[in-house]
């Protein structure tokens, strides 16, 4: 299978600022994502997971190394074909749900009938049909994230990057959103890169899980789950799930302790 995304030797070093010295935040990272796969990244706080996502997205540039998306070098801007969901709520409170979803399409100059059609499809796909004319302020956190997801999906991205998208939600909502995400993944056929600090989430949802070390983050190991494509949260009952999760934690435990020690500031 063709690699949709290739990350080669990516390192990010933040330059010295004032009294703070140079910070080697990430890398070197090597990674290859096949088209259509679901890849999760877990790691302790501060290991550079978000930085990695931003570099792959084109939101920031690596100090060393390169990223290729669909054969083209990524740098300086976010390529079309990549969609990003952030942890913070990025829905626009001054627009209705429909207008939110239509946002990207309108900025690209898509004609109105097509916009309307695609928005309706996205509403159906994300289960938001009844809320089309509501304002984000009237919706719960989980639904607002769904609006952001719909707004991203309507542009039919080939790669979807999610940076701890369910971090602000409660556990039950997280599990439901996880199922939602799997369903959307299957229906769109997109490639997914999910950053999460929840090991069970990573183990449950992905084809492969990359485990990062403490800062500077590199991949300690990439665990393959071998789940069937049509999975949902009920695979948590399978014995392999417990094995995978324990293995992830075994790898991470030492890293987390290390990270807490280093990031504790006076």
């Amino acid at each position: 299978m063709d690699a949709l995304v290739t990350v080669r030797g990516v390192t990010r070093v933040f330059a010295a600022k004032g009294a703070v010295g140079e910070v080697h935040a990430l890398g070197p990272i090597d990674l290859s994502l096949s088209s259509g796969e679901f890849f999760a990244v877990v790691g302790p706080s501060g290991c550079g997971k978000s930085t990695l996502l931003e570099i792959i997205a084109g939101l920031s540039e690596p100090t060393v190394g390169e990223v290729f998306f669909d054969g083209n070098r990524v740098g300086g801007f976010v390529p079309r074909g990549i969609g990003i969901i952030f942890q913070d709520d990025a829905s626009f409170p001054w627009l209705t749900v429909r207008e939110n979803i239509a946002f990207g399409l309108k900025r690209r100059g898509v004609d109105t009938p097509t916009v309307r059609r695609k928005v309706e499809d996205a509403l159906k796909l994300t289960g938001l049909q009844q809320f089309g004319d509501a304002y984000p302020a009237q919706l719960s956190g989980g639904m607002r994230q769904r609006v952001c997801i719909a707004r991203t999906l309507v542009l039919e991205p080939r790669l979807i990057l999610l940076d701890e998208p369910f971090g602000a939600l409660d556990q039950q909502t997280r599990l439901l959103m996880g199922d939602e995400l799997l369903r959307l993944w299957r229906e769109t056929g997109a490639t997914i890169l999910l950053i999460t600090h929840a090991l069970d989430e990573a183990a449950m949802l992905s084809d492969r899980v990359g485990v990062m070390s403490a800062r500077p983050g590199t991949f300690l190991e990439v665990v393959t789950t071998r789940w069937p494509r049509d999975r949902d949260s009920t695979i948590a009952t399978k014995p392999e799930f417990g094995e995978i999760t324990s293995h992830l934690w075994a790898l991470l435990r030492a890293q987390s302790i290390k990270s807490i020690r280093e990031t504790a500031t006076p």
Binding site: L59, F86, A90, Y135, A137, Q138
Partner: protein, 250 residues
Amino acid sequence: MRKATTIRLIVIFGAVAALEIACRAGWIRRFTMIPPSEMAESVVRLFGNPEVLSDMRQTLTAIAISLGGALVVGFLTGAFLYAVPRARRIADPLLATYYSVPVFVFYPLLIVLFGLNAIPKTVIGFLYAIVAMIINTLNGLDRVPDVYWKTAKAYQLGRWNRAVHLILPCAGPYLFTGAKLAVMYSFIGVIGSEFILSSGGLGYRISFAYNNFQSDMMYGLILFVLLVVIVINMGLYAWERVLMERRGGR
């Protein structure tokens, strides 16, 4: 209607009624104050007075110009200071102490510079209103969540589109607050200046009426100005509340 609103209306109505009775009964001398009912009559008569109408036009024009200038220049200055943090840090003490200074002390200087015409009061209105707009523009831009800047990149928005479709709507309510304050300050600046010294305008007409013992005219004008200002401000406050509510306070 809410309890507080009802009580408030009763209080205001009661106060006006008490005033009416006190004036008519002679407890308050006619020289000091005329009954509220006659004040109301006087307001109506103002509209038949060509001099007063001309004053109204003068005042309104000066307010409009000073307000327009304050909104535009204030917004642009605020945006500039936001974009250039160094400039903002330098300007910060000025912005922080600006409204503690009695701006009207510059009025005589402006008259010396421009003459006794419409310019000094327009400048005062402008100077008084502009900083409210600058401060609120900065406030609104500060409150644009970090994630929006990344979202703009995610949708490949250029700077113009980002400003128009993302930043401005996001900062909108705060810009509106700034505009609302600017309206208030333009009114106070222009009418206040006219009152102290001017060759025309409503403020001038009030001081003229006072100096010439024209109680009817004076109270009519005062009531008129009060009504206009209160109605405009109530309208703006209500509009602001609607904007903020829909956004859920974001």
